[in-house]
Symmetry: D2
Subunit: 379 residues, 4 copies
Amino acid sequence: MLRYWTAGESHGKTLLAVVDGFPAGIEIDTDSIDYDLRMRQGGYGRGGRQKIETDKVELLTGVWKNVSMGSPVTLQVINRDYKLEKLKELERPRPGHGDLTGAVKFLGSIRNVLERSSARETAVRVAAGALAKQILAEFQIECIGFVDELGGHQIHRQAGDIQQWRTLREQSEVYSLNPEQDPEIKQLIDQAEEQGDTLGGILEVHISGLPFGLGTHAQWDRKLDGRIAQAVMAVQAIKGVEIGLGFEAARRPGSQVHDPITYDADKKDTPSLGFERPTNNAGGLEAGMTNGQSLVVRAAKKPISTLRQPLESINLDTKQADTASYERSDVCAVSAAAIIIENVVAFEVAVAFCEKFGNDSISEMKARYDLFQQMAQQR
Amino acid sequence: MLRYWTAGESHGKTLLAVVDGFPAGIEIDTDSIDYDLRMRQGGYGRGGRQKIETDKVELLTGVWKNVSMGSPVTLQVINRDYKLEKLKELERPRPGHGDLTGAVKFLGSIRNVLERSSARETAVRVAAGALAKQILAEFQIECIGFVDELGGHQIHRQAGDIQQWRTLREQSEVYSLNPEQDPEIKQLIDQAEEQGDTLGGILEVHISGLPFGLGTHAQWDRKLDGRIAQAVMAVQAIKGVEIGLGFEAARRPGSQVHDPITYDADKKDTPSLGFERPTNNAGGLEAGMTNGQSLVVRAAKKPISTLRQPLESINLDTKQADTASYERSDVCAVSAAAIIIENVVAFEVAVAFCEKFGNDSISEMKARYDLFQQMAQQR
Amino acid sequence: MLRYWTAGESHGKTLLAVVDGFPAGIEIDTDSIDYDLRMRQGGYGRGGRQKIETDKVELLTGVWKNVSMGSPVTLQVINRDYKLEKLKELERPRPGHGDLTGAVKFLGSIRNVLERSSARETAVRVAAGALAKQILAEFQIECIGFVDELGGHQIHRQAGDIQQWRTLREQSEVYSLNPEQDPEIKQLIDQAEEQGDTLGGILEVHISGLPFGLGTHAQWDRKLDGRIAQAVMAVQAIKGVEIGLGFEAARRPGSQVHDPITYDADKKDTPSLGFERPTNNAGGLEAGMTNGQSLVVRAAKKPISTLRQPLESINLDTKQADTASYERSDVCAVSAAAIIIENVVAFEVAVAFCEKFGNDSISEMKARYDLFQQMAQQR
Amino acid sequence: MLRYWTAGESHGKTLLAVVDGFPAGIEIDTDSIDYDLRMRQGGYGRGGRQKIETDKVELLTGVWKNVSMGSPVTLQVINRDYKLEKLKELERPRPGHGDLTGAVKFLGSIRNVLERSSARETAVRVAAGALAKQILAEFQIECIGFVDELGGHQIHRQAGDIQQWRTLREQSEVYSLNPEQDPEIKQLIDQAEEQGDTLGGILEVHISGLPFGLGTHAQWDRKLDGRIAQAVMAVQAIKGVEIGLGFEAARRPGSQVHDPITYDADKKDTPSLGFERPTNNAGGLEAGMTNGQSLVVRAAKKPISTLRQPLESINLDTKQADTASYERSDVCAVSAAAIIIENVVAFEVAVAFCEKFGNDSISEMKARYDLFQQMAQQR
């Protein structure tokens, strides 16, 4: 059972993710984790904090001579901006944040809640996902998250495979698959900044090379679509999740939604086992199980809740009307969210992968993977 | 810890839901469960099976003299159309169903998978949710699910509170909040039927009367938004989930998304504790916790995967191209989905409610609810 | 993930166990489940209820043409002695039962609690374990539970393997491995009955043929020794659990406790892989993982809490001193407990087995088992 | 839901415990955690490592101005003896350890397994338990673990309450409740050391001041006795667990086991609510729920598996007979185990306490505790 939890506050000493059930025998590539951490901090529209932090992962446990031991792996990202002990309580809850809900629920301070509910915590969710992707990489499973829409502006992706898309994403300051549209998107963000406003957007994740049969239909809480939806919706500021066509699937007739099944014997040694689909409207999941096609997940991120031009709020002590408190923040973190969503989805896929193929040692997993492909071909 | 699992096949003897952690001391209203079961079977566009089944719940365990005992409650819905032992294997997997994914994953038969992945199973998810709503009802928390869009056709809901909406839903053959639009919607469904096609749609759930503080921000897997998203996406045929504004939130600037906070001392004895929000774009959840406003969840249901005009598929034994198998099915089950989504969301809310207020006995829960409202007022 | 829960009251309509995650493709042998159910009802010293009930399992879900489908399997045992609706509340809590604890915790009736906490519920725990043993049987893993001590009287087991022990257990009216001692044990029970008293005893379970590596050392809640201890201690009336030497291990020096490791190439194709141990003081578990030797678990069952010569208690309404209520009961159920403990231990072993080898289909599990044995030989 | 996991290797950089669901508003007393850490390192018979380490806890997350925030609390204990990167693989598995089981299961190195399965990990289990005891302390619930038997030598405890016992334990170099017996016990340990052997023993934990109703009878995996047994048996080197009379309960007739119920109105404002029991053979648990009496748990610890006079083993690479590897170790760690068992039991009790009374804020928990006592008195 692969699983993880995080700990840490926005301005606390450190952020941690403990990844339990990580298979033994994988040589850990910390550079690729750091790459995702750096990407999470980037993207056009970020504020001052990202200049303070230069997140790097440290592996505290679970690794010997850089190879996973089968023990829990602890990923640490130190907060350079550690100042929690000097910070004060907030008085005026910021709409959209957990300030009000948490202060009431816990009958306590706003600071307690905002420090933990802050999106800063996603640094270690990214680290956990980036670690999990190293399992997937052993099986040539590749992942990418990108920005598909920003501030209501649709971006027209260029054609390509995940490798090519990754290059495009590198070239785009907003992490889209069309760097040529960057100027118009950056202008949108600049305008929002001038107005003291913030912007949201839509992220898309693709995972290719997946075998059949991750997830199961047999019990509601084990279906992979549900588990992915949980992981995505539980990310700060996410208000919508789609798989494959998503909401569009609800608007088309069935004949234009379901993906025909064909068979191509030449591809029987690929993850699809030769079962090809001319379309992938299902986004790679049917009945909560992977179907040999790419996984496609989309997420809607609302604009950042902290506005320089603050929203109407109250003073929680006096109950008098006032404007919301302001703490340093970004104008737009949609690009970062592309990286975050990529990683939380990848983690759930890795969980399902470990359920199917085990998680004791990578050598046993590989032998089992081959075995399954053989047995499935002969089914 | 309130939790549930289901068991049972589409054409098996029986369907069961075991609800563990249901509080003691609640007088069970089976009529209201049967009402939801009947609603799930109805709606314009259903096929022959719904005429065979007249689902009624039977409480097998956990109840003494019609009052809950604190033991697991088992809800049974008998399949009148029990014929599993006589049924044959399918050869041509139906696109959109789990036929292919499951046959490969389990290295076995399509029948094994379709019998369990069938939406027939949602009968007992509805029963479990309808039972959980009886906890919520003790606290004047009310729920409704309705059809907001069908086959790409937007329905313009009439204004009202949940009670009034329920009356409207009763009057609508498609379970919308605008019975006057029924004729156009029914015509859409009739057309699809003529063409051997199927239709999907968009469902919306509202839950009112919720107190502050259900769910928590503190760990990703305990956030209520994530747990609701899982429950919804794990329903058969659902491909998208939104909370509050959902994807629309990604398209607006922050100033038009976040809900201002005001205080109205006259309402301090209501679940909102006087913290009023002129808008509810957050859909009642901030940082994964309820904020005293109504919960609003939306789901996208794809069209039914079984088409009378079958899709392109293969024979799984010979790998030769063929049309998909056909098993008796509906043209449109969007109305049913409104009931299903209402109930799976209600169940998760009840889970979070029991986490906050306990689940030993309803008398203790009520006293604690009052205690929390008092303490929260004085925070 | 193999898991199960039960539902049902002592005098309710029915008892149920839902077994989720049971692999597809196993032909179910209900006779062997019924055998264990019958054994659970037998043993010298049982009272009137066992004459009323003749437990037989019914498979309600998860099976097609008698073969498991990969869906949840529901096991039902009907209560012939269904009379819950006619029963009355108890007033005088019986020491040793949950009567007092539950009535206070749930702020409610004693009846509510006793109906669920009754050992009658173990019928379906036995059924679940007997089902799980059918997974183990596919791998020549064999289980037995027997009485090692009764009423303080040690029974001297005869030598043999599990098959021979099963024959001995069949011949013993008290389910010991020495039928010749039956007369003295039965006399003990008869004496207790005459005195209106009850007797407890010590059970032992052996499971042979286990491969290496079930369970893991890596996280406290995944260690197999802990999980077995939970399953055993959670059985009604159990107050102690031992693995291998158990408490005796605490009394010997290390040189007389730890099992030397030898290697016998002739046995490298057996589950032990050739790693032989001249002793098995560890009871088959080192660091929470199976070590290729037989699993040995022992449990202490206290005497039945319901005494015909009732204990001192109070009237819960008046708080006045009184004797405890009496409901029909047995004098000694130690033999039954041998069957129960065998089955709850077997279930946990099957859980760990499915964690190691997967639980999609028995064909894939078998191929993986062989694969692991090969890879492990070459380690 | 209060829960915890640990991470870290014996000779790695650090050991960590993440405690999730810890209530907000508790002022953390790190001294008391350090006290338990120091005690865990002490006791007569320890070896060289304990001189190197002087464990102190560091709170990495979840605390603001020394008060818990409702976020996950991370407890860190740094390994001064960090040298993992310089260590070599072992070749000759040590009987009693996970060396052989783990190397086979993970198809990998012995070092990987021993580093994680080492009892060094219990440092942070102790820290987690010591933190959890600070919840219990808010409700005047007190805990002690002590050595009852060592190397087969029974120690005759002096009478007293938990406070007095704690003083006695302080005075005893072996953490017994009879410092006067220390000389004979120390002599036993000295003898074992001379012989290159090791000793085990029996630990006992008492927790007083517990309210009614922690745990539940309603589902097997929620019973408190089972959960405690898991926590205890999952501790390194534990081979047996008892609650109350334990195995002795199996040897007495029922009339001498079950604890009569009396009522003393003068004590109705105490945790027992006035329901007194002249004996406490049940050890505070009936039907998996606390009954207002002290919890009594016993555990059997086997002797340390690493012997200076090594056991017979093999070279795992050559399969040739050889003696087991030796890594620096203690002669007797029974005293340490008393502290460990105290803390793992305390953690499970705190989990059940939070289930009953919630875990959002300590202020709400206290109000609910009082509310329950009132309601329970009037039942």
